[in-house]
């Protein structure tokens, strides 16, 4: 006799257990003492690094506006010989990673901000600012005349600098607060971590995202408040989509051959984001994720350093371990984001709302099927 699954069971999503976890206010990451140490510890150092990244992104957006050769853009306006020497000696934060994320967001687009940057309203604001900026600069005016799309595109990029800076400003504070709560014993489990992040995201959801630049004493709005851009839907969600899910092909130790169709022509099928990345290639010079891992290792809390030291190669492969912990933490942030974005309350008793929630999460689980979700369960 042939046994078959019941209809109800056969319709279950392959990642149904994870859907149930999210609906039950749990996380995609298993709850364990070591996972809590890794996630909170790495988010602490990530928070410190994000603080520096966000300040620099906002500085570039505000003070390097249409500076075509921004030699000192990483100095936040404080260019001194000791700082230059430290920079050349590479004793510094790798702000290149922040730009990598910004450019990834710009390239993938998404959300109302992307729509607004393509609108006539933005173009008018943009042209006013551009005209004021290049009024006395004949070569750039000539350039603008020859290539009228070039400077607006630069301004769009600067808008992303600003928006990502504002987003990371909030996230940095949130992660530092999480670390303080852990140190105070208020957060002790992974579900508590997720709940803390979700609460922070929900609290910041409606924060307006705007951007104005001062030129010769006059302020020029580029992302006006009237555009109605908000923190969660217009920056956080496109950020998660671009950086957690899609990313860009990894330059450096792993080579992709576009001619051999190893890179999908469909941007929606890109799977190079943080949730998909293989941590093992970490370590090659100049590769974006490696830069972040290098930055974070300067700010690891002692308990996390001790945890790494006691495992495997100790601190010899600390960047790979940081990347693995980072990936775990990003699954927690993803859990919080998905729970925050649920169309209806997770504990709704209405079957139609339950079905909508389920379908919403099933769609995300489809995309996570090829991610490192199975690996972080180990």
């Amino acid at each position: 006799m042939t046994k078959t699954l019941s209809l109800a069971k056969s319709n279950l999503h392959p990642l149904e257990p994870f859907i149930q976890k999210l609906l039950g206010a749990e996380a995609l990451l298993p709850d364990s003492e070591s996972n809590v140490i890794e996630v909170v510890g790495i988010l602490k150092s990530y928070g410190v690094v994000l603080d520096a990244y966000s300040k620099n992104l906002i500085y570039i957006a505000d003070h390097q506006f249409l500076v075509l050769f921004p030699f000192f853009k990483y100095f936040n306006g404080k260019v001194t010989l000791p700082q230059l020497l430290r920079h050349w000696w590479h004793d510094r934060i790798n702000f290149e990673y922040a730009e990598y994320c910004m450019k990834t967001m710009l390239w993938h687009g998404g959300g109302k901000m992307d729509e607004y940057l393509d609108s006539d309203d933005f173009l008018q604001h943009c042209q006013a600012a551009v005209a004021a900026k290049i009024k006395t600069n004949l070569p750039i005016r000539a350039l603008n005349g020859l290539f009228p799309d070039f400077l607006p595109e630069q301004v769009r990029q600067l808008a992303y600098y600003s928006a990502l800076g504002q987003f990371w400003r909030v996230m940095s504070d949130l992660f530092i607060d999480l670390s303080d709560a852990y140190d105070a014993g208020k957060v002790q489990t992974i579900p508590q971590v997720v709940a803390f992040i979700k609460a922070g995201l929900v609290a910041a959801a409606a924060i307006p995202i705007s951007y104005a630049v001062g030129i010769n004493g006059t302020s020029y709005e580029l992302l006006p408040k009237s555009a109605g851009l908000t923190f969660l839907m217009d920056v956080a969600v496109p950020y998660v989509e671009a950086v957690f899910f899609r990313g860009t092909p990894f330059l450096g130790t792993v080579s992709y051959n576009a001619q051999a169709d190893q890179i999908s022509a469909d941007q929606g099928r890109f799977e190079y984001g943080a949730l998909y990345a293989d941590p093992l290639p970490i370590g090659g010079a100049g590769i974006p994720p490696t830069l972040l891992m290098q930055d974070m290792r300067h700010y690891l809390p002692d308990y996390l350093t001790a945890f790494y030291q006691s495992n495997g190669r100790g601190l010899d492969d600390v960047r790979v371990k940081i990347c693995q912990s980072f990936q775990k933490s990003m699954f927690c942030v993803t859990s919080a984001s998905l729970q925050g974005l649920l169309p209806h309350p997770a504990d709704t008793q209405d079957p139609r709302e339950q079905a909508t929630n389920h379908a919403f999460l099933a769609g995300w689980m489809d995309r996570l099927a090829t991610s490192r979700l199975d690996v972080v369960q180990l």
């Binding site: 130790t253 970490i282 370590g283 690996v375």
Partner: protein, 541 residues
């Protein structure tokens, strides 16, 4: 003085044997290391006293032994043996340094290593044919035991095969030595007596064939090579280092010292055949290496190919090609030792040498980046990339042999190109790509955590790599010791070389035309008047 090179390792072995109570591995390593380090210091001292312009043996020691049989305890050092003795002590030290601290039967292991070192030193120093044979045979049993006791799962088979082949090699060599002395009517087996022997060509050819097969087994040359891959695969890393770096050189040393040095008429008659044999060995070794999936077997087959170059260069017997034989022996000793050492480290870290399952070991964080970079250096040196000693040796082989055997040389150059092919395969498969110990399609390794490479593995690899580069950039540091013996060995072949020179008879390169030679060097007069006539042709009866 020369006896000390043989006795010091034996004294160290005796200390280990008599060591009271349980002998810790670290103690055994230190005692053995001190013994070999002393031989290295002594060799350094001898090198400072070495007379570069004297072609014959120096620092000779002669003690009567069994005189009715022609056996005397006669040792001598010349430019052919000095570099090989240094490599013997150096790689002996490396083998001791990299030996596992957790070995069982520690005392026996280190004693055997020391006995091998002593026996090999004796063979390189022996200036009496029977004495050479005694030392040549003396290293067999220790090496057999090292493979049979500390080898891999098929160690019994590999060790027995090695013993049978090499014992046969010894029988042939002994037969040739006996024949050389008896047929020439001499009563002494002293090397110089044999040199003066003037035998009919047919007898010389018979003796040379026996010698070539005997030493050809040890080298090894196709088709007598089959013991080598098995021995390497089953041997532990230190033994493989010694086997490839030093022990194979006994074969090539024997070919040059006794074949080229003692039987000139037969050598000239058989030279074209030897060059052809060299081509077969080179191409066979290279093609077989390409077919391997076991890293160690690949390196082992590459040795067969590279040892073929020594035979080609010796067959050409021009001044440059004879220098090339020394260079190729030293170069192969250093490079193969490095490669086997690194293969051993990879095996220790990953538990496999299978190139179909290893991937991405160059990964800078979780992989073996130091091993990978050293391996790339090693394979580049082996493939003859300029700047490393492998290039100098191959260049000298081809430069010295081309005018005498152009076709064979060109075919051997193809073998050199094949070296690049199989080593690129190795590096590409094992070290590049995504880190894994299985093809991603079969079993993706989700969290590879290979153990870090210790200083015990790094230091000797780095040291060997530095020597490979140093001699590649400054070949004169090596060549200057061998100038005199090179020219002396070439003397009987001047006419042969002139007669066989292709394309442009005056274009035969002299050593003096190359980078190395002291122009003030004076040469002994030709040994045989036969070669006074440059147009004389040699043919088989």
């Amino acid at each position: 003085m020369l006896s000390a090179l043989i006795l010091i390792p034996l004294v160290a072995a005796l200390v280990l044997i008599l060591w009271p109570g349980k002998l810790e591995a670290q103690t055994a390593k230190v005692v053995s290391g001190i013994g070999l380090a002393l031989t290295l210091v002594l060799l350094g001292f001898l090198a400072t006293q070495f007379e570069l312009t004297t072609p014959g043996f120096q620092f000779e020691e002669l003690l009567p032994w069994v005189e009715p049989l022609g056996l005397s305890y006669r040792l001598g050092l010349d430019g052919l043996s000095l570099p090989l003795l240094v490599v013997n002590s150096l790689l002996g030290l490396v083998a001791i340094y990299i030996s596992e601290p957790t070995l069982h039967r520690t005392r026996l292991y280190y004693v055997l290593l020391l006995v091998i070192n002593s026996a090999v030193a004796g063979a390189f120093l022996a200036a009496n044919l029977l004495l050479f044979f005694i030392f040549y045979e003396l290293e067999l049993i220790p090496l057999y035991l090292l493979i049979a006791i500390w080898g891999g799962s098929r160690r019994g088979y590999a060790a027995t095969k090695f013993l049978i082949y090499t014992a046969l090699s010894g029988v042939l060599i002994l037969g040739a030595f006996l024949g050389l002395v008896w047929l020439s009517g001499n009563t002494s087996f002293d090397y110089d007596s044999g040199l003066a022997a003037a035998l009919p060509l047919a007898q010389q050819v018979s003796l040379l064939v026996a010698l070539l097969i005997g030493f050809g087994i040890k080298v090894p040359l196709f088709p007598f090579h089959t013991w080598l891959p098995d021995a390497h695969v089953e041997a532990s890393t230190p033994v493989s280092v010694l086997l490839a770096g030093v022990l194979l050189k006994l074969g090539t040393y024997g070919v040059v010292r006794f074949g080229l040095g003692l039987l000139p008429d037969a050598w000239m008659a058989l030279a074209p055949w030897m060059a052809t044999w060299a081509v077969i060995s080179v191409l066979y070794g290279s093609l077989a290496a390409i077919a391997q999936t076991d890293m160690k077997k690949m390196v082992a087959y590459s040795s067969i190919g590279h040892m073929g170059y020594v035979l080609l260069a010796a067959a050409a017997s021009t001044p440059v090609s004879i220098v090339a034989t020394v260079f190729q022996m030293i170069s192969h000793g250093l490079i193969s030792a490095l490669l086997f050492l690194l293969v051993g480290v990879v095996y220790k870290a990953t538990g496999t040498r299978d190139m179909t399952v290893l991937r991405g070991l160059l990964n800078p964080e979780r992989g073996l980046p130091f091993v990978g970079s050293m391996m790339i250096l090693g394979v580049m040196a082996s493939a003859g990339i300029p700047g490393m000693v492998g290039f100098i040796s191959e260049f000298l082989v081809f430069r010295g042999s081309f005018l005498i055997f152009p076709v064979q040389t060109l075919l051997c150059m193809v073998g050199s190109g094949l070296t690049a092919v199989y080593f690129l395969l190795l590096v590409n498969r094992v070290f590049f790509g995504r880190l894994a110990i299985a093809p991603p399609t079969v079993a993706p390794q989700l969290d590879i955590d290979l153990p870090p490479v210790t200083w015990r593995d790094r230091v000797p690899a780095f040291g060997l790599a530095m020597l490979i580069i140093a001699f590649g950039l400054q070949p004169n540091w090596l060549a200057r010791w061998s100038e005199n013996i090179t020219l002396a060995l070439h003397q009987p072949y001047q006419g042969f070389v002139q007669a066989r020179t292709q394309f442009a008879p005056t274009a035969v390169p002299a050593v003096a035309d190359t980078l190395f030679v002291d122009p003030a060097l004076t040469l002994p007069t030709p040994v045989s008047p036969v070669f006074a006539d440059p147009s004389a042709e040699i043919s088989l009866p």
